[in-house]
Symmetry: C2
Subunit: 383 residues, 2 copies
């Protein structure tokens, strides 16, 4: 067991209570480092990677990562909605989503030192008496301290009693796996502290709470799988590369610190951003994929050139040709009005020249390279 405290707590916002992690590290046994994962999230983001990076640091120090799959919650649906019927997620679908999570997570953590647990294993056995025992451990006021609850309560917005039970389920997970440390984003602070209260009520030594920063996306708000403003831990290399290059320069120091765990860059921001993009793609797909993605980015996006492999398509009959219909048919646009809008914005180019008319002589399009948006190209036949 060897790990520097500085490495384990790098970038951490809270390590609570003070001195307790040091004490647990001195126990001389592998610590159980818990992270709960939301299998219902539409995707796994760079932001989700930040606590996983801490789990990896613990694993490198000889400790055990414990991933909790919230299958019980997923199976019964999220009761925060007011509708009477809950969306039930089938077990196979939960397995599929969990597998996707692991694929992403294992680009960061060590599968050999990871224990995966499904919380249905213990939550499925909880009866009303056990819920009462569990809920006795925590006061209403304590749960309402949580930022989001506090704001809603103050604003007289409805908080259903069931919502108070969610942090308690998470806390009960800590009891079940006997967590020594729980990791989470700073937005999880109160949930993680609740885990301490509940573990104590169950006669266990409470876990250490270690929170990591949230990371902002290019739109300045928290990167979130459900908001769509994210770079996924694992997705198409060109997408990862391109999205990373869209980050504003002023965000580079945060990304260097939180994602690369390096000092902020000092030289040319463009070069720094390319290095970040290379890091992200290489972590997910390897160095070869990173080089290819960079090449693609440089050619297509940065130099506004066509990619080397352009699909070909036959020109439809008629002269002149109505370009909006052509775009719907060959470029996958949703409607001719969407196509007209794109043309109006100068987003459609024929051999590099922005198109201004909707109807174009057949001769202009025959054999031409047509570009719609930044990255979609088709070369039309000469016939």
């Amino acid at each position: 067991l060897s790990a520097s405290l500085a490495e384990l707590t790098r970038n951490a916002v809270h390590v609570l209570p003070e001195g307790e992690l040091e004490r647990k590290l001195e126990l001389g046994r592998p610590l159980r480092v818990k992270l709960g994962i939301d299998v219902t999230a539409p995707d796994i983001t760079l932001g989700n990677g930040i606590p996983l990076q801490r789990m990896r640091a613990f694993q490198d120090g000889g400790h055990i990562g414990v991933l909790i799959v919230g299958d019980y919650t997923a199976r019964i649906g999220d009761p925060s909605g007011a509708s009477a019927e809950r969306p039930i997620i089938a077990p196979e679908e939960i397995d599929r989503m969990a597998a996707r999570f692991f694929e992403s997570a294992y680009t960061i953590i060590d599968p050999e030192r990871t224990e995966v647990r499904y919380n249905g294993e213990w939550l499925g056995k909880v009866d009303f008496a056990e819920v009462l025992r569990l809920t006795r451990a925590v006061t209403v006021a304590r749960l309402l301290e949580r930022d989001d609850f506090a704001k809603r309560f103050a604003a007289h917005q409805a908080i259903s009693v069931s919502e108070l039970l969610y942090p308690l389920m998470q806390a009960y997970d800590s009891v079940a796996v006997e967590a020594d440390v729980e990791l989470g984003g700073t937005d999880q602070l109160y949930n993680l502290l609740t885990g301490r209260d509940v573990m104590e009520a169950y006669g266990l030594e409470p876990q250490v709470v270690l929170t990591t920063p949230l990371i902002a996306s290019w739109d300045g708000t928290k990167m979130s799988g459900s908001k769509g403003n994210y770079i996924a831990l694992v997705e198409d290399p060109d997408e990862q590369f391109g999205k990373t290059m869209r980050l504003p320069d002023e965000m580079l120091p945060d990304y260097y610190r939180l994602v690369m765990e390096q000092n902020p860059p000092t030289g040319d921001p463009l070069e720094a951003k390319l290095a970040l993009a290379r890091f992200i793609v290489a972590r997910a797909h390897g160095a070869g994929a990173a080089a290819a993605a960079e090449e693609h980015f440089t050619r297509v996006v940065r130099e506004h050139q066509a990619p080397d492999q352009v699909p070909e398509a036959p020109l439809p009959p008629g002269d002149p040709i109505h370009v909006p219909a052509l775009l719907v048919e060959h470029f996958g646009l949703g409607s001719t009005s969407e196509a007209r809008r794109l043309i109006g914005q100068g987003g459609v180019k024929v051999d590099g020249e922005a198109l201004t008319d909707l109807d174009v002589p057949r001769a202009t399009l025959a054999g031409a390279l047509v570009q719609a948006g930044k990255r979609r190209f088709i070369r039309f036949s000469r016939a």
Copy 2:
């Protein structure tokens, strides 16, 4: 089905929502009129009788009384205490306490039109998913509206989350028995209204809420089985009669209205109080017992005379005799200092004369009738 609305709602404080009871009565089927009972209460009081009187009125109108025995709660213990171990009440003890409740309740309600249900029947089957479904129906703010919670929350006193679940268990009982009406004291108003919310969330027609007044005891506070300031529905006739006669005159109108369901008395308060005491004993034990209790009361308490059957006891040796020791030995007083206090208050009489000395000549006590307090008499031997 025949019952006047005035009779069903006599003395009611709330009948909610307005017009709903009338509507349900017009359905032309027997209504299910629920009352939850606390089998852990040390005794069943006249106050507990008030909602039972309403249940009787419904039964006389052809409806069904549904008594809910909270065996589930009793079996798992009350989690409001902070101690880790809950007092578990054995099933036989719960049965014994429930039987005692029925003995009292059946002096008022009609056993032939009463359905008894134990809530362990359904609460024992509730899993975590069902708790979440149940708790989704109610907001935290709604539960905190309850007087006692509101005060404690405002005073920053701890309210455990488990305490919020108790009203929801009671509400779930209403779902399980498909209550049309729930009865309760005014202190149950919010719990009963919560039952409406939960029934609605479960797709049932919400119950009508009918609350009855609490009744004050001779000390001016709510009559309560756990405070000891009560007249029990069923207890020793002489006790019932004597306690009733201790009520202050100004409470008579309330007792006439709530217990006897009669207009306030107009004549001599003593006669009015005797009629009340007769009513209470006769309801519990029959008219004969009421007459005997009155005779006992009149002779012993009112006329300060000895009862006709006075036990005899030998005088201890010595002269003079130390009366405090005598009182401890023969009158069951706890200590000689308690005995001295009683003598000091003029509470010990020898042949009707209040004793002032602690040591009394043997001749004074030989063959004398000694009275300690209001009702304890012993005649000492002449030897």
